[in-house]
């Protein structure tokens, strides 16, 4: 067991965990933040995407110990109080979710995508959005409305 500390959604957190503990298990089991999901074993579905030090990563493919000392943001930390993040609002407005299971990872990926595009001055067209979603699988929506939501949120 090792004590692993980090900042999650602005709060200092700490837990004693085995070194083999994945970041996603630390978030779900130790912090009881169950919005981050696990949908596969091979780092492909993206249901577990969170932000570590401002970058989208797959929490199922990172040890909690690797994230020690980092700033982590999960889906629960995205809204500002009662105000939805614009990407959350866009997923709602454009019906970009059905069962909701892939949604937290989709939204965290979309936020990262939009922020990177803004930083580099790149226009997020449909083809780029679809390509950027390579690491996120949705089985419900057929992606159509996810793309619409991201287009709208990207402005």
């Amino acid at each position: 067991m090792t004590t692993v500390s980090m900042t999650v959604n602005g709060k200092e957190v700490s837990a004693d965990v085995e070194d083999r503990t994945l970041l996603v298990d630390y978030i779900r089991e130790n912090l009881k933040l169950t919005g981050t999901h696990v949908g596969c074993d091979t780092s492909q579905c993206g249901a577990c995407v969170v932000h570590v030090d401002g970058k989208a990563v797959k929490a199922c493919t990172m040890l909690a110990a690797q994230a020690a000392g980092s700033e982590v943001v999960t889906i629960e930390g995205l809204a500002n109080g009662g105000d939805l993040h614009p990407v959350q609002a866009a997923f709602h407005e454009h019906h970009g979710l059905q069962c909701g299971f892939c949604t937290p990872g989709m939204i965290m990926t979309a936020v990262d995508m939009i922020e990177r595009a803004k930083a580099s001055g790149q226009k997020l067209d449909e083809a780029t959005i679809r390509s950027e979603l390579e690491g996120n699988i949705c089985r419900c929506t057929g992606y159509h409305n996810i793309v619409r939501a991201i287009e709208a949120a990207a402005g």
């Binding site: 169950t34 249901a47 069962c99 992606y143 159509h144």
Partner: protein
């Protein structure tokens, strides 16, 4: 006043929790003191279990218990029941214990369960359970299952035959073929598909010794049926002693209909270890053990006269049911399949034979569409091929054969109540700019691509199901649906529905039904489902039934509410109940300007200070059970355009148009989402998906590293439109929309590819290798066009 109700694009009420990470799925629930289960699964497709040695594993850190097939047998735990047998009687239905003790029959079959303090420790110990197997020859090939030299799975099923089933009459079909001017014949494989709900299955069971009762949280599309099967058939306890809760469910697509052995084992085991026991599938387990869909091998023939008028259809199918009979395994390849073979066409004679067979594969059950995609695929491939062979043209041949008079009695039992197939076809042609196809094809050719177009004019039978028909054909349950409306004094309502959502938006769409009926704002209508502890008996969600049957039950319950509320209003306004009318949430006395709002009436009924208590009970709560008079028949036209890269064989769906007739639409936003998702399932089946088993019976693509599931860059944006012939027999005039895309899309995609590369036969999935091979063998003639 007017509230947003039926027909409005109401944003989903359930979204708030999902977009903020507050959804509550089964794995998100943790019970105090819970332990974790990991199953020991067979690595062999077919083997005798010689011994199971748990001596090393039971001493591992954190292990509380290990149970094997012997323990299950010693406790007299019932086997997994089969909920449907076509024809009523049991077919060759061998027992399926929850844990196996003598023999395993597919890779993933369960031999033991390890229960420990954590998943990791349970997995550590599971690796130390030593099972000695004697491997047997196996067969995963549906086509070979009945061959004399094929290994037998079950003593109870000679030649691996579960059942021979047929529908329609053979003699008229033979006579029609004898006089036909043209016969189109295809050998078709409908590829075995893995449903792949993004939320893996999970189960968490707890036993309360004080009440001698169990609570099971599980990922189910139909918690009441799980309760029935688990309580009555496996545990042998009263259903009242088991509460089944399906909280938020992350997609189902059929794979969460069946009752699974994992659910049985954790519930049985939680009492033995006196602690809650939780199991969550990983994705590889999901590939191996979530029920699969399709897996048909078929010879299909269509007879026509000289004008291209269809005379008869003859179908002979071998359908794999996997290694065991899943809960509703036999339904998809019989009554949900043979009955829709007429499609939207007037086909005077149809005969279909199905042999259900065992193979050393994961059990088969419903997968989005369930039987209707298999039927639609063969009909639409035959029709398109016939059109090309005869030169009649793919649009014209359909127009010549569409059913135009309703009701229409098909040659395969069903009677279609209503429809208008040509209007949908015309709208789709327009929406897809079919007229501009040749120009687009030239443009593609200029870019070195082969462009093709394919059609699918489908029909499906949904809204499962009239209970008398369900019973007559072999279902062990009725298929009506229930609704209960409970009022709160301040005017809000809770509606209990026996259906269960896995993302279809029931909390919003059903609230819209109530809003329209009662004039109560959507925001004041809570839809409650998925908990046998709080919801009356119901049958769950599948077969595009929830709105057509469950919504109709809600509508009927609302009618009862209105009927009683009119009496209350009459008392309030000192009028005769017969003179009360109700519209837009307001009760009025005919011929006067007296009115009372629904809110006032509710308050009066709930707080009956001035109320005819001697004549009527207080309160307005009502319950209704709705049993449909017929199936519903959604139909439409889907048109797919593809571009094939001749250098690599890669197919890109570049344009997809869907025009569907779902009857009345309650929420167009939700319906469009269902179409997008359904079509993407269909594109997945056509281009990418197939469970692949090797010679030894190993599933070689049991992860997303090898099983291809559509990604965002594999599909285009979709063009969607509607026609509307309201269902004639349910109060909402709705037909159901969840499966249409998965049913209609596969033949549209394959018809487009075969058009693009100029080939007649092409099995799904149309992988790049397969398409490239065809292009190589049929030369570059087409490419040079």
């Amino acid at each position: 006043m007017g509230v947003e109700g039926i027909g409005a694009r109401v944003l989903r009420k359930e979204d708030q929790r999902f977009i903020t990470g507050k959804g509550r799925y089964t794995d998100d629930f943790n019970r105090p003191g819970q332990l974790f289960a990991v199953f020991v699964r067979s690595p062999h497709a077919h083997a005798l279990i010689k011994s199971v040695d748990i001596s090393e594993a039971k001493d591992c850190e954190g292990v509380h218990a290990i149970y094997t097939g012997e323990d299950v047998a010693a406790d007299g735990l019932g086997g997994m029941p089969c909920g449907f047998a076509p024809g009523g009687g049991p077919q060759n239905a061998p027992p399926r214990p929850a844990l196996l003790k003598d023999k395993v029959r597919f890779v993933g079959d369960m031999v033991a369960v390890v229960i420990a303090e954590s998943v990791a420790l349970a997995r550590d110990a599971a690796g130390k359970v030593n099972v000695e197997y004697e491997a047997l020859p196996s067969n995963t090939d549906t086509a070979k299952a009945m061959d004399a030299d094929t290994p037998q799975l079950h003593e109870e099923a000679p030649n691996n035959v579960v059942m021979h089933w047929e529908i329609g009459e053979a003699d008229p079909v033979e006579a029609a073929f004898a006089k036909a001017d043209h016969v189109t014949s295809l050998d078709i494989i409908n590829n075995r598909k893995v449903p792949n709900a993004m939320e893996p299955r999970a189960a968490n069971a707890e036993y309360d010794p004080a009440a001698d009762s169990f609570t099971l949280y599980t990922t189910s599309q139909n918690p009441h049926i799980t309760r029935l099967l688990l309580a009555a058939y496996v545990l042998g306890i009263s259903e009242g002693k088991l509460r089944v809760i399906s909280p938020d469910v992350g997609g189902g697509f059929g794979s969460k209909i069946p009752f699974y052995p994992e659910e049985a084992v954790v519930t049985w085991a939680c009492r033995k270890v006196s602690r809650p026991v939780k199991w969550t599938s990983d994705r590889t387990e999901a590939f191996l053990s979530d029920t699969h869909g399709r897996d048909h091998v078929t010879k299909a023939e269509l007879a026509m006269d000289k004008d291209g008028k269809f005379l008869a259809l003859r179908v002979d199918t071998k359908a794999s049911l996997g290694a065991y009979l899943s809960t509703f395994g036999m339904l998809s390849s019989t009554y949900l399949y043979g009955t829709v073979l007429s499609g939207p066409y007037d086909i005077p004679a149809i005969h279909c034979k199905v042999s259900g067979v065992f193979t050393n594969t994961c059990p088969i059950d419903a997968e989005r569409g369930a039987g209707r995609p298999e039927a639609t695929y063969l009909v639409e491939r035959l029709v398109e091929t016939a059109a090309r062979e005869t030169g009649i043209g793919v649009v014209e041949i359909r127009k010549r054969n569409f059913i135009r008079e309703f009701p229409y009695q098909t040659a395969v039992v069903l009677q279609y109540d209503t429809g208008d197939y040509e209007t949908a076809l015309e709208m789709a042609l327009d929406k897809a700019d079919y007229a501009g196809f040749e120009a687009r094809k030239k443009e593609s050719a200029a870019n070195g691509k082969l462009r093709g177009v394919g059609f699918s004019t489908y029909i499906e039978a949904c809204g499962l199901a009239p209970s008398n028909i369900a019973g007559a054909i072999g279902a062990g349950i009725g298929l009506y649906e229930s609704a209960e409306i409970r009022f709160n004094p301040t005017g809000s309502v809770s509606v209990m529905t026996g259906t269960q959502t896995q993302g279809q938006g029931h909390e919003t769409a059903f609230a819209q039904v109530v809003a329209s009926k009662l004039g109560i704002e959507v925001g004041n209508v809570d839809i409650i489902h998925g908990d046998t502890g709080s919801v009356q008996w119901g049958h769950g969600t599948y077969g595009s039934r929830s709105l057509a049957v469950g919504g109709s039950a809600i509508s009927a319950a609302c009618d009862k509410v209105i009927e009683k509320a009119k009496k209350v209003a009459a008392h309030m306004m000192e009028a005769d109940a017969a003179d009360i009318t109700f519209e837009n949430g307001e009760f009025s006395v005919s011929g006067t300007d007296k009115t009372k709002t629904i809110g006032e009436v509710i308050l009066t009924a709930m707080v009956p200070h001035d109320y005819p208590l001697t004549d009527m009970e207080p309160g307005l709560d009502q319950r209704s059970f709705y049993d449909p008079a017929n199936f519903t028949y959604p139909a439409g036209t889907h048109i797919c355009e593809v571009e094939v890269d001749p250098d690599t064989g890669v197919t890109e769906v570049v344009k997809f148009t869907a025009v569907d007739d779902f009857g009345n639409v309650v929420n167009p936003m939700i319906v469009e989402g269902q179409v997008h998702g359904g079509v993407t399932h269909g594109v997945g089946q056509a281009l990418f998906e197939k469970a692949l088993y090797d010679e030894e019976g190993q599933m070689v693509n049991a992860s997303y590293m090898d099983y291809i599931i559509p990604h965002a860059d594999n599909v285009p944006s979709f063009a969607v439109g509607y026609t509307n012939t309201p269902c004639t027999h349910n109060p909402l005039g709705v037909k159901g929309c969840g499966e249409a895309g998965a049913i209609a899309a596969p033949p549209a995609v394959i018809n487009a590819i075969t058009d693009a590369i100029g080939v007649r036969d092409l099995d799904m999935p149309a992988t790049p290798q397969k398409v490239w091979d065809i292009i190589q063998s049929n030369g570059s003639a087409k490419a040079a066009e």
